[in-house]
Amino acid sequence: MIALADAAAIVGAGQTEFSKAAGRSETQLACEAIVAALDDAGLTTTDVDGLVSYTIDPVEETELVRAIGSPQIAWSSRVPYGGGGSQGVLLHAAAAVASGVARVVVVYRAVKARSGARFGAAQAATRPTSAHSGSTAMQWLLPFGVLTPASWMSLNATRYMHTYGVTNADFGRAVVQMRTYAAKNPNAHFYERPITLDDHQRSRWIAEPAIRLLDCCQETDGAVAFVVAGRDRAMDTPEPVMIAAAAGAGLFEEEIGSDHYRADLSRMEGSAALAAQLFGQFGITRDDVDVAMVYDAFSPILLMQLEALGFCGFGEAKDFVADGHLGPGGLLPCNTNGGLIGEGYIHGLNLTLEAVRQLRGRSCNQIDGARTALVTASRTGVILQRPDR
């Protein structure tokens, strides 16, 4: 087993409200979520000596520290791949505290994805490169009117549907489950608003034949933060959640947009490589997983990841979903907050928050006895566990 296993824990979790118009800066949102996470851990900003976020996050470390008042940052890093890297922030934080380079690491993501720069906006301006990984590939998409994440991903999804005989209604059944969970979650955008498959099938096309409006996640304003500390220190905090496993798998030409050139777009091979790491070197098996959070920016990739992660065979996710296995009594209760589709889209990090809630016994859709939670986002993932105390 590799040294990272159980070396670190999430000791605090925090968030702002999720909304369509936060009315304050991303930096303020990040500060609020971080202070909430530190309060949750029983720690203060004075304890913080490490920072991790996404390469795409707008909150600068210098401005952040100037606001929260941490006296000395020993180490910081950022993770590429956008939302696909969302669980990589925990890998980085765990690796930092396991190595001793930092002792208390804050991970954060703050977005104004609805009131600010919307992910789904039709922007044709191309840039040769930017700080955001993957954007170099966009110069080969934007001139053709392929402008949005839904459009990039739909090209993969159409091929997946063709290969395995999957229909948009097959995606819709997963969406109905996400919305059923969201309906019970007061934190969710779609609280008390469940849908039927007919509702889904009547929603307008975004990218035909793969993605309708109700297949898309909710652009959201808000922030999520976690505090990560080493195992020994974690045991002195009120409610630690162990990072039992953490991994990332960036394959050749595999980032969104650049993956259009890989041999078989019917399979999310980055997720398969991720699963090989998560279930190969940490002493944890798929059967150990009580509840899963699987990145659902768009519903097709939820099904495609279930297959690549090995919870069903390739082409079998549509049956796995139709048989109710994502529901509370299924083989793999999944996205119990309503997912990114039902709760909101803090770029994947709110899925991790729901995993923490499950392991602390406080989900709005609590899975009885949940001890092991998997969180994956395409090519990065973690397995969190309630500690034996």
């Binding site: 044709a124 301006a125 998409l141 053709f144 990218a207």
Partner: protein, 136 residues
């Protein structure tokens, strides 16, 4: 439809766009191991040669995948935008548009050939249209 925006030109992509503006479809081939590659890049990922040749392609291939893009809408494009990944006969892929075809007739494996769509800045994009059906 207003004019399509011009593509961004980089050091690596300049030969591709210069060729397209002249109505030719070209791609990068490694001078060391003769690997065809698209999009272009500064080093061959296979043999690490930094020298490459630009070769003209037949311009024919087939649809590997596609998507009819309905929303959101940008004023430079007609909707639905027909986006496609085209498998070219030389063994590389290109993300592009299908033109001169009814959206309802687009399917995976549809045989296509290149044509060119003008953009702002007197440039052009290689786009694809169905190959004429062979006469019986």
């Amino acid at each position: 439809m207003s004019e399509r925006p011009a593509p961004i030109v980089t050091e690596d992509s300049e030969p591709f766009w210069a060729a397209a503006a002249a109505g030719r479809l070209m791609a990068q081939r490694c001078a060391g191991c003769h690997r065809m590659q698209h999009p272009p890049r500064p080093m061959c990922p296979s043999c690490h040669a930094t020298d490459s040749e630009w070769v003209e392609l037949a311009g024919t291939g087939s649809v590997y995948s596609f998507s009819l893009l309905h929303h959101p809408r940008h004023p430079a494009f007609d909707y639905p935008v027909i986006a496609a990944i085209v498998s070219l006969d030389e063994g590389i892929r290109m993300v592009s548009n299908l033109v001169e075809v009814d959206p309802g007739d687009v399917r995976i494996d549809l045989p296509v050939e290149v044509t060119f769509a003008p953009t702002a800045g007197s440039m052009a994009l290689p786009v694809f249209r169905p190959l004429p059906e062979p006469r019986p």
